[in-house]
Symmetry: C2
Subunit: 409 residues, 2 copies
């Protein structure tokens, strides 16, 4: 077991229960010994669902299943197992998904097309549904509206801490809550560190509205983080709205009365996404990259990710080196418009380069204390427009090599 | 000084002299002490030129200069300095380039628009042309048609060995030779490890024909390698044809009588590109990735580069781990068409996965001896078409972190 990340929060937060959501975790015996590795989540009738998935061309069987049933817009259960990703497993993998959905559906009184499945762990190994099916009735007996931390722990693989977030706001003066949890450690190692996230609310949000909000929120959270630039076969973000809150009907994502809810949802997504970065394999520093002056927000995010994915930038920061030349390089390779002769770069609030040249007053001594800290801020203006984005990443250290160059044993 | 890469060739090859090409190297005193860091290459009147440059949006002043004068199609000299990349240096950097070109041109009796300039080293530091200008007359006195190794050594930065290659062939029964040298160690660290390559031939090839051949050859050599996926501000590949060989006139790149020449040029480019990978920062293993069954050759190369750039694939290989699941992941993220259920993967000639599943006869023991060696072969068929490409890379080791997390001091 790896030591807990130095960037971990002090404790798992106290997540507010969501009316209509109950959870349970257990040890299935599938792969891990002495820890829980399987969860069942029951959702009240009437729950709507939205999802965002990996763009991988080699997506796993569970991802294909969720994509297909998402069109129904309704959810009654979620089953997640850790240890085996059921990816690259062909027809046998598809059968395991369907059997799991059927058995879990029977436990909660729903059809399989309302049961969402996610799997994380080694890929290419057959997943037998036997142990999962055997464990589901017991899980159904143990369902509990407060079992958040147990659920968050059960889906961990190389994660060093469980990740949760919660916010309460109002719609029409009625309290509504968003609570969620996630796992992820590489962004993303398909081997043992896939990113999964599940977010729940008691608000009554029609599936298409929830989908619009989730897609937008994902762009500014899970799609704005990187640990190593690798994309999982299994990345899954699902949001569920049980509709138990008392507010009036919702019809469009852009309604002004949903402002608080949108903010709460986005904050939960960003909080969870940042926790994934804080648990990045080998991470010693949390890096915030703010890009401005780009042709569009999308261009700004691509530039931010080019900086955040650059091994040279990440190793420099691991070495507490304010190596701004590597940031210039990363901006240059992003494939988005940038005006070299109008670019400016700051680190830790210190202006380093401006108008495409080193600032005459800059001295590395000014920024050295910031670079030695746990939180590194990089701000880049690329001088061509008004597009802005923020991206989060971690440094690239010997710890990453140690974790990933080991045998899978 | 870092130890020489374990993947280095036994010795610098004996490069055949090219009629019309003379070289000299010296210590300019600009940055390095006790080693040469500046070269002048003189090219006979009538020499044609072709070039391929970084696609970076933050390209250096010397790259902008070369791009501009390339349109003239004629070259009389090349000046290369190591230690300062003259990148992100604004107007002062442009002035340094122009003064260097004027002084070098005067030394060989040519205008500045026929003098190509390349710089490699730290970026964002002002480069004074004073020391370079002072050294040029002495270099012009020392020009020598056999000074290949001295020139290849003088342009090294974090390189651990000088890189050269040579081939002789015929056009119309007349001998023609291609000789060249290169530097590069990260692909590409703008800080101290930019990729530069200079290739020379005595063949008489018009500039547009040479450009077509070079662009095609670069795609299968320097554009098919990666060390860390980072793109330099200064990447420069230049080819020069002095026209001193006795063959008949050439008008098109596709002429059948140029078959031997094209092959010789491509072999020199691939040889030099592979040497850059062999000198990849921290490299312990040389990896050949063959992709087939892609929608096009271009798609195959992108898939190969996605595999070759994946930190998870590269760290697994550093650990001698045949972690084929990470190859599935990398194929999936390449953004090119792939059919998960028709994919096959082999390593070291051992079939691991086929039809989207682990091969039933596969046992890791079969491939373990191959994985422990210095040369790793990966073959992937993505099952959608007939596009093929080969990409070369190296593993990602603690050595890479050590080299790049250090202070620049």
């Amino acid at each position: 077991m790896a030591a807990i990340s130095p960037l971990a929060p002090a404790a798992f937060p106290a997540l507010t229960a969501i009316a209509g959501v109950r959870l349970a975790a257990t040890e299935s015996g599938e792969r891990y010994k002495g820890r829980s590795d399987l969860i069942l989540i029951e959702l009240a009738p009437g729950t709507t669902v939205a999802g965002v998935f990996t763009r991988s061309q080699t997506a796993s069987g569970p991802v294909e299943w969720c994509r297909a049933i998402l069109e129904g817009g309704a959810a009654r259960a979620v089953v997640v197992n850790a240890g085996n990703a059921n990816a690259f497993t062909g027809a046998a993998g598809r059968t395991a998904v369907r059997r799991t959905a059927e058995t879990a559906g029977a436990c909660v009184g729903a059809g399989p097309e309302q049961v969402f499945i996610a799997s994380t762990g080694v890929i290419g190994e057959a997943l037998s549904a036997d142990k999962i099916e055997a464990a589901l009735p017991g899980l159904a007996e143990a369902l509990d509206g407060n079992a958040w931390e147990a659920a968050a722990r059960a889906i961990m693989t190389t994660d060093t801490f469980p990740k949760g977030a919660t916010r309460t706001t109002t719609i029409d003066g009625e309290n509504v809550t968003v609570s969620g949890f996630a796992k992820g450690s590489g962004m993303i190692a398909p081997d043992m560190a896939t990113m999964l996230s599940f977010v729940f609310t008691d608000a009554a949000i029609p599936a298409p509205v929830l989908q619009a909000m989730l897609a937008r929120g994902a762009d500014r959270s899970f799609n704005s983080i990187t640990v190593d630039g690798d994309t999982s076969t299994s990345d899954t973000l699902l949001a569920f709205a049980t509709g138990q809150a008392k507010h009036g009907p919702v019809t469009r994502a852009s309604e002004a009365r949903l402002g608080g809810f949108r903010k709460a949802l986005n904050e939960v997504l960003i909080d969870l996404a940042q926790q994934v970065v804080r648990d990045g394999e080998g991470a010693q520093k949390f890096i915030t990259i703010s890009v401005s002056g780009a042709a569009s927000a999308r261009a700004a995010r691509r530039i931010g990710l080019a900086i955040g994915n650059s091994p040279l930038v990440k190793t420099a920061i691991a070495g507490s080196d304010a190596n701004w030349g590597r940031i210039v390089m990363a901006v240059g390779k992003a494939g988005e418009k940038a005006d070299r002769d109008r670019m400016s770069i700051s680190m830790g609030g210190v202006l380093i380069a401006e108008h495409g040249e080193l600032h005459p007053d800059y001295d590395e001594v000014q920024v050295a204390p910031h670079m030695k800290g746990r939180h590194i801020d990089i701000a880049v203006d690329v001088g061509v427009g008004r597009g802005k984005a923020t991206v989060w990443t971690c440094d690239l250290t010997h710890g990453y090599i140690e974790i990933n160059a080991d045998y899978r044993s």
